[in-house]
């Protein structure tokens, strides 16, 4: 039944968005994670990318996390000569995580998750109403 497939597709959306939330949480948690060695690279911000994928069993076009890739933007250089991660000149590379960008991304993931929840609710209510025709 197509409504059942709709629920499965929305469930794939829930899974994808929850993974996106996880990646955002990792970015926020590592906003200050500097390099392990002096002069090395700090934590690189990661981004989840999605792709459409047909589910073989149901035939619905669900969403799947294609990859979690590193953000290629430049690190910020901060002068902190006392830090163990500082290079020869006293500069420390900070992660390319921007709190505002992460907050906006998190809001988008949250809204998308809610949209999928609403779609599941609608499909379920339609199914129940159809069954109620028998009663």
């Amino acid at each position: 039944m197509d409504l059942k497939t709709a629920v499965q597709v929305s469930a794939s959306g829930l899974r994808a968005q929850s993974l996106r939330m996880r990646v955002i949480a990792e970015n926020l948690a590592n906003a200050d994670s500097v390099a392990q060695t002096a002069g090395g690279n700090p934590y690189r911000r990661r981004v989840a990318t999605f792709k459409a994928e047909v589910d073989r069993t149901t035939g619905g076009m669900g969403v799947k996390v294609k990859d979690v890739e590193g953000d290629a933007s430049a690190f910020q250089r901060v002068y902190q000569p006392g830090s163990p991660a500082a290079d020869g000149k006293g500069y420390v590379l900070m992660p390319n995580v921007n709190g505002l960008v992460e907050a906006a991304d998190m809001k988008a993931a949250q809204r998308s998750y809610e949209a999928n929840l609403n779609a599941i609710e609608a499909a379920k209510s339609l199914t129940m109403r159809t069954i109620d025709l028998l009663k």
């Binding site: 059942k4 629920v7 829930l14 899974r15 599941i120 028998l134």
Partner: protein
């Protein structure tokens, strides 16, 4: 629930087989059983209900397994929710169909001969 519903369905299937010329016979003949009145498991509606009960039981079992996994901390919450939703839908459908079949059976029982 199962025995009463299956009995009713079986009788209803036999009745459908006897009155083959009507719409009920058409339903029965779809599975190729409408005409026969002998074998116990050959009622069209009986098979239908039996199939539904089996399907429902298997989806309930899936939901139970998913819940048990979740409680043990190994499962996926989304899997649990979708499995329970599917099981609920299947159970509601089978109960609604059962009610209709039992209702039809009672109607036949009350029929003036």
């Amino acid at each position: 629930m199962s025995i009463g519903a299956l009995d009713a369905a079986l009788s209803y299937g036999r009745a459908a087989g006897i009155g083959k010329s009507g719409g009920l016979g058409d339903l029965g003949s779809k599975t190729g059983i409408g005409g026969s009145t002998g074998a116990a498991a050959s009622g069209g509606f009986g098979n239908l209900v039996e199939q539904m009960v089996t399907d429902t039981a298997s989806s309930l079992r899936t939901a139970e397994a998913a819940s048990a996994k979740q409680v043990a901390g190994k499962g996926d919450l989304i899997d649990v929710v979708t499995a329970i939703g599917a099981a609920e839908t299947a159970l509601d459908t089978v109960v609604a169909v059962r009610d209709r079949v039992v209702g039809a059976y009672s109607d036949i029982m009350r029929m003036q001969i």
